[in-house]
């Protein structure tokens, strides 16, 4: 009787393992991506709704971007080819300056989201292009705004590497912006880094 129970449990366990196996073999699952984005959204809304000063909120926002975002990959991607001819020191200085610039630029709009409700609605696997988690940001009395989060675990753990607001990709937008800033700085990467540091301060 006892051993019979055990074997049935083992069998059930084996069936469960079989069902789970294909998901383990694949990278991150859509469920993992959804809970990852839910965690980001939860922390983000906590910062947005807190009564702390703007500068304290921006600092927290930058820490969040560092923790949840794949900042080196994003920075390298928006800079493009010039990345390859930079020294290791320039590359890490660029990543740090870019992080502060992004945190300041997007974080300073944050008060606009104070009364918003964010609802994560689902996720879809796009293979090499990562998982896209969809969410809706709604305000009382107006149509909801679609915000999609592109995440991947190709850097080791789940990281966010792009956000699309009503279909508009931050990667594309910032690539155009960083290239224009580089041109404005006479195509000098050190001048670009200094410019981004100023904008992120």
């Amino acid at each position: 009787m006892h051993s019979n129970e055990l074997s049935r449990r083992t069998l059930l366990g084996a069936v469960a393992a079989l069902a789970v196996a294909p998901q383990l073999a694949r990278a991150a699952t859509t469920d993992q991506a959804v809970s990852f984005v839910n965690q980001i959204v939860g922390e983000l809304m906590q910062i947005v709704r807190s009564s702390q000063s703007q500068s304290a909120a921006l600092r927290q926002f930058e820490q969040m971007f560092d923790r949840y975002g794949d900042v080196p990959v994003i920075a390298r991607s928006v800079l493009g080819q010039p990345w390859n001819s930079m020294s290791g020191g320039q590359q890490s200085a660029f990543v740090t300056a870019f992080r502060g610039y992004v945190a300041n630029k997007y974080g300073s709009q944050f008060r606009e989201f104070q009364d918003a409700q964010v609802q994560v609605t689902g996720a879809k696997d796009f293979g090499e292009r990562g998982l896209v988690v969809s969410s809706r940001v709604s305000y009382a009395g107006s149509s909801p705004v679609a915000v999609d989060w592109q995440v991947s675990d190709r850097s080791g753990s789940l990281k966010m590497f792009n956000v699309l607001i009503e279909g508009v990709s931050m990667l594309t937008t910032e690539r155009s912006e960083i290239r224009a800033l580089l041109a404005q700085n006479g195509n000098n990467v050190d001048a670009l880094i200094a410019d981004l540091q100023r904008r992120g301060a």
Binding site: S134, S142, S143, L164
Partner: protein, 242 residues
């Protein structure tokens, strides 16, 4: 099915027309030089007229009144949205649009109140440019249009058709249509106010506001007609960096 057959032929004809127009040095933006000067013109219009007048309007007219006028203008546009959703074969959105128009016209005092949105039935904006996109017509070249802003060859044609198929254009008398033009102008001033922070950031804080506006317009339009609201062409793989 009928829509699909029509779309194939209509799409092919317009595709040829668009291809003939887009032959130029840069396939992505053949009219870039002209577009950029029109963009500067539009920015000057915003800086010297639209933004300051919008600020005056916002100071003089309280927000509920401004929202009411904008609601009424949106409501008058619903029949055209209904026609376009139907042409796109999107009967879900067509039904919601019809319902919104009926409810807001009857219970919202001719559309001054947007009671449908308060009940969770949001506006499903669309236009004839989107209908053409659903029918398979490619966007053609990117265009900046004086006073109108970003568009494409397809969408500019769509805008013209959209104005042409508006039933209210034919139903209203001289004085009423003048009132409508006034309300539409007030709606533009109100929108400049409501989206002020975004427009200011795009126009005056971007290092290259022309490209920023172009990306925002093209990607947003691609998303509007994409399955599940995600345009696969826009998704990139930054991990494949060379």
């Amino acid at each position: 099915m009928g829509v699909r057959i029509f779309s194939r032929w209509g799409g092919a004809a317009l595709l040829l027309a668009a291809a003939a127009c887009t032959a130029g040095p840069d396939p992505d933006d053949p009219y870039e030089a002209t577009n950029r000067s029109i963009h500067e013109f539009n920015k000057a219009v915003d800086r010297n007229a639209l933004r300051p007048v919008s600020d005056v309007y916002a100071t003089a007219v309280p927000r509920p009144a401004r929202t009411g006028v904008s609601n009424a203008v949106s409501n008058i546009g619903e029949p055209v949205a209904f026609i376009n959703h139907t042409l796109q074969g999107d009967f879900d959105d067509a039904g919601a649009t019809f319902f919104r128009f009926a409810v807001n016209t009857v219970f919202g005092f001719a559309g001054l109140l947007d009671v449908a949105t308060d009940a969770g039935i949001f506006e499903r904006e669309t236009d004839f440019g989107e209908t053409l996109a659903v029918w398979g017509v490619p966007p053609g070249a990117y265009l900046e249009v004086p006073f109108f802003g970003p568009s494409t060859e397809r969408d500019l044609f769509g805008t013209a058709v959209n104005i042409g198929i508006n039933p209210t254009t034919y139903l209203l008398g001289g004085q009423e249509s003048l009132a409508l033009v006034g309300a539409q102008a007030a709606d533009i001033l109100n929108q400049r106010q409501e989206f002020g922070a975004i427009i200011d950031a795009l126009f005056y804080e971007s290092a290259d506001s022309y490209t920023a506006a172009k990306i925002a317009y093209l990607q947003n339009r691609a998303q509007a007609t994409a399955a599940d609201g995600i345009s696969e062409d826009i998704l990139e793989d930054p991990y494949a960096f060379e």
